[in-house]
Amino acid sequence: MRDALLEFSKTFLKAECSTVGKKEYEGPLSDYFDSWEKDEYFGCRSFDEAESEMSRRNINFLLSKARYSYGDIDVICGGDLLNQCVATSFAASGTGIPYFGLYGACSTIAEAFICSALFIETGGAHNAVGFASSHFCSAERQYRFPLEYGSTRTPTAQNTVTGSGAYLFTSDRCGVRVKNALIGRIIDKEITDANNMGAAMAGAAADTVLRYRAASKDEMDSFDYIITGDLGREGHEIAAELLRRQGFTAGSRFVDCGMLIYDAEKQDVHSGGSGAGCMSSVLGAYFISRMRRGEIKRILAVGTGALLNPNSVLQKKTIPAVAHAVCFERED
């Protein structure tokens, strides 16, 4: 049971929407994002408020894209990286929609997909919204140093994405469907370097991909892309190597949102992008939109999360990681 896929039969993705910050908009995917904001404060007083405002706007964009209103949504679930998920709670406050706060670090969006799908499958919701966000400035504050402090970074460190991605799931048959999912287990490779989260998460990503392969038999070849969340260049190469040693080579179909969102040559992002907003903004904007245009048929989204907190790092604890896989498929 626990190694079997969660099969979904009536969950469809009606619309998706991504809002990002300036640096993300200046990256290679600029044409794909629905909206962006050049003010890192998003017109608010603090970075925490800015993140909520970004998610709130993005949810409104999502609903207007689908021509839905708050009243049409039965449940909303999402999360972010701030203490106690406040950015998400403030974003959802005022919508009047029943709310579930989630935390899975950077894998949060995959949790939101699975949660939304389960609501719809069980008849608990007709329409559900799943979303996740992160903001470079609020995350720096949460995990590292004040923004203007002159700290330096190692080459393996990653840059937190300022972005929010929201997805509207429905039980009405439409364009893209959520086929199945696999809930990841905690993999702790005993990495203690918070500046190399890619290495901490690579083990979890590989574990989930291999478990998915075992559970789905021969389905892996049918994927156009197997997309990890935010391993970054470092973590992605390690994950590919781990998979190769287990006899699975995905080649160029194996991609990472953290590597796609920035231009590694021109933008100073070290190993790539990370954060709960990374996969949530890239998956919908870049992959699902291409799926809707008929360019790709089926993808496996593997949301990866490094489950550390600033105190656990100071206490020299290891970094546990988790990865959840969700399969999206175009309906013909």
Binding site: P146, L147, E148, Y149, G150, P155, T156, E190, I238
Partner: protein, 144 residues
């Protein structure tokens, strides 16, 4: 591959920070800050400050400039280039305090700015004061 081997594998492929380049940048940056200090000292002295007072004025000026550069979001760019060269001089200390203070102002003057003011600079004060106490004790007994 067990966790120990994995750790070694990860370490072996990690790209190292470019030490020679970083040291050179730190040397240039730190040196430039010190040169600015010297020039300021000459300036103050030629403007009539005593040789005793001029260094104090220099410190105050550097701290002020560091605070302003932090406020306009420029100091972290200097530090990104200069690394330790920008952090070790007194300007780095001012930057650590100014950055903590400005970022915490949303939580209020007392619970935000005042509480967080020494968040990064605190250890320097703690160990600086402790070291001076130890030095004082040694000096008292053996300093003659």
């Amino acid at each position: 591959m067990d966790n120990k081997q994995y750790g070694e594998y990860v370490k072996s492929r990690e790209k190292r920070s470019p030490i020679v380049k970083n040291c050179f940048n730190a040397f240039i940056t730190g040196g430039t800050i010190c040169l600015a200090g010297e020039l300021l000292a000459f300036g103050y002295e030629s403007a009539g400050a005593s040789a005793e007072d001029a260094p104090l004025y220099v410190l105050l000026t550097l701290i002020l400039l560091s605070g302003v550069f932090t406020g306009i979001g420029f100091y972290d760019k200097i530090a990104k280039f200069g690394g330790g060269g920008a952090l070790v001089p007194i300007t780095g200390f001012a930057n650590a305090m100014a950055a903590s203070a400005t970022e915490s102002r949303t939580e209020g003057l007392v619970n935000g700015t005042a509480v967080n003011l020494y968040r990064i600079a605190g250890p320097v004060i703690v160990f600086g004061t402790s070291a001076s106490v130890i030095y004082g004790v040694i000096y008292y007994f053996f300093g003659g």
